[in-house]
Symmetry: C2
């Protein structure tokens, strides 16, 4: 039988800290009994919570830390005050040292990425890590990356994103050859930026295994789920993600307003309540957080406001990434793509 | 009394051609009696339609054209086959020649922009035109630009966009000093691209009249209407616009599905029908189309699928722009901003 997957948890991360992280681990363990946990954080806060989950306690270790990175800390600040000593750092370092297979944190995204880069480094020849988000679509879910790890990027960076996204899609979407599209603008006159066109040429010519490049896609293809993996650099990806989240919140507000706008509408809302609640769940924030790709280790970012169920989803995402060998799959695909690198490894301009 | 505003209409533009454009003009004329129209297109199609609107016919001229730009034409193709002879070209040329005060078309956006640039040129010292969209928000409406006229741009381009957007906001939002934000990413580590930061510095230092610069905004501020004018270059702006439209369509589909998901939900939907219909209107495509800014003339793009009511909105938008002197307001504000241009006029890098 395969050995347990060991997840390091930043118990102090997120809006709710251990009060969500511990129950979340219990939920995940129920569904994935071959899990073990390493909790990093305030031991006095974690241990009593573990007391009410004896099954979880038996598969957990607690490592006390004195420092917690704040949600408001700047990455540079977090590195200065939290390096080595914070729960976030030690969670990542557990992966680096081999004590854990995967790190999960609901903490400050910028700080988490800065520490992950500093501690784990990128996986050669990838120079710039990315954050991949799960995007709910009319077809199910797609992967969108980069949603804000770095800004800008040359064609090679976009190709790396495509490869890493496809490797992740093989695991989370369970598709052997995921479809990939490059986010671009539609106007014919302006066929997009040169980097995007060049990346398109590379992807078309490379005919990589386990990746079906379908060409350019546009912003409105995201909601349709036109491809399994949407690739764009982090500036546009971050703005697209937040625009979609903002639009969903705006429309939720419209629905609430509409459903309270008249007596008839309120009666209607009463009848339709279960349907409206199901709808609300679909429109909520992207529950499962993001996956950090391109690092020499698996790091999962849970949503800062995640509840136990949604945090458990992030843990299981990490479990799947390790069990199905995300890093190996990326490495394999990168080796194939490498033949198409314009220059030897580490030649891409680092512009972050 | 002020003289009539003369609107040139590309009767062949859009999905429905004269069958929408003529009734739309009648609707607009009812609300703005000081309008006159110049119709360009297939005279045999336009004249019978005018016959059923005698009030409109009395204030209209029809100019026959043989060529219509297709929605699928590439801009270069449209310019090659449609220059001088197409209804689209002649609609724009009417503004150039002074025969009309404003051009409105529901045709192919790329072709319309290419022809408008070619025929009208940009308004010095502005080098690159922009498309500004009205964006429905929880506070009402904001202006977002550029949503796809050109790609990329230096700090000066972003400052020009801010100034043009503010001038437009003074008219359509009726605010003396509209608030302006630069779209950026939130992660602290990556404070956005250098161009955006540099534009922020210029806007902060310039303290332009009729413009209140509020700093950086993020994708989720769009739906909130955090500022009156959102400024970004055309690649990101186009993707943000289409992502929001796609998300709205996706959620509309979710609502339809939810409201048919059970007998109770269907009963609820019956009661809530008027509220749901009002909601649908809010979630539909941006009805009023876009305004082309930075050209030496007023050009309005109506939505390709516009119905008569929505097309009439585009005509009235054009009316307001002319009546309240959009070009004069832009010129004035640009003159103020000019003191902050890093180099003499026309120095900005043209990268389109």
């Amino acid at each position: 039988m395969a050995s347990d997957i060991r997840i390091a948890l930043d118990a102090m991360g997120g809006d709710h800290g251990p009060s969500v992280v511990v129950p979340a681990a219990a939920v995940a363990l129920e569904r994935r009994p071959d899990l073990q946990f390493l909790f990093y954080g305030e031991a006095n806060a974690i241990k009593p919570l573990l007391g009410s989950h004896p099954g979880l306690a038996a598969k957990s270790q607690v490592f006390h830390t004195d420092v917690a990175v704040k949600m408001s800390d700047k990455p540079s600040q977090a590195l200065r005050t939290g390096r080595r000593v914070s729960s976030m750092w030690q969670t990542i370092e557990a992966v680096k040292s081999g004590a854990a297979d995967c790190a999960v944190s609901a903490g400050n995204t910028g700080a988490l990425m800065a520490m992950a880069k500093f501690c784990l480094h990128t996986m050669a020849p990838i120079e710039r890590p990315a954050i991949a988000a799960m995007w709910p679509t009319l077809r199910g879910e797609s992967i969108v990356l980069d949603v804000g790890a770095t800004i800008g990027g040359d064609a090679q960076h976009l190709v790396d994103l495509a490869v890493m996204g496809a490797a992740m899609a093989r695991i989370v979407l369970d598709i052997d050859s995921p479809t990939v599209g490059l986010l671009n603008v539609g106007a014919e006159e302006i066929k997009g930026v040169e980097e995007v066109r060049a990346a398109g040429r590379i992807l078309r010519e490379a005919t990589l295994p386990n990746l079906r490049y379908l060409g350019f896609v546009e912003g409105d293809d995201l909601g349709k789920g036109a491809v399994d993996v949407f690739v764009t650099e982090g500036f546009t990806g971050n703005i697209a993600l937040k625009t979609a989240e903002g639009t969903a919140r705006q429309l939720s507000q419209y629905i609430r307003d509409a459903m309270g706008s008249s007596l008839m509408a309120r009666i209607g809302a009463l009848f339709a309540r279960p349907a409206l609640e199901a709808l609300r769940a679909k429109m909520g924030p992207r529950a499962s957080g993001g996956v950090f790709l391109g690092l020499d280790g698996v790091v999962i970012k849970a949503h800062g406001g995640a509840d136990a169920e949604s945090y458990a989803g992030a843990v299981e995402l990490g479990y799947d990434m390790v069990r199905q060998e995300l890093l190996g799959k990326i490495g394999e695909m990168i080796a194939h793509a490498n033949g198409f690198r314009p220059m030897p490894a580490h030649s891409g301009a680092a512009r972050s």
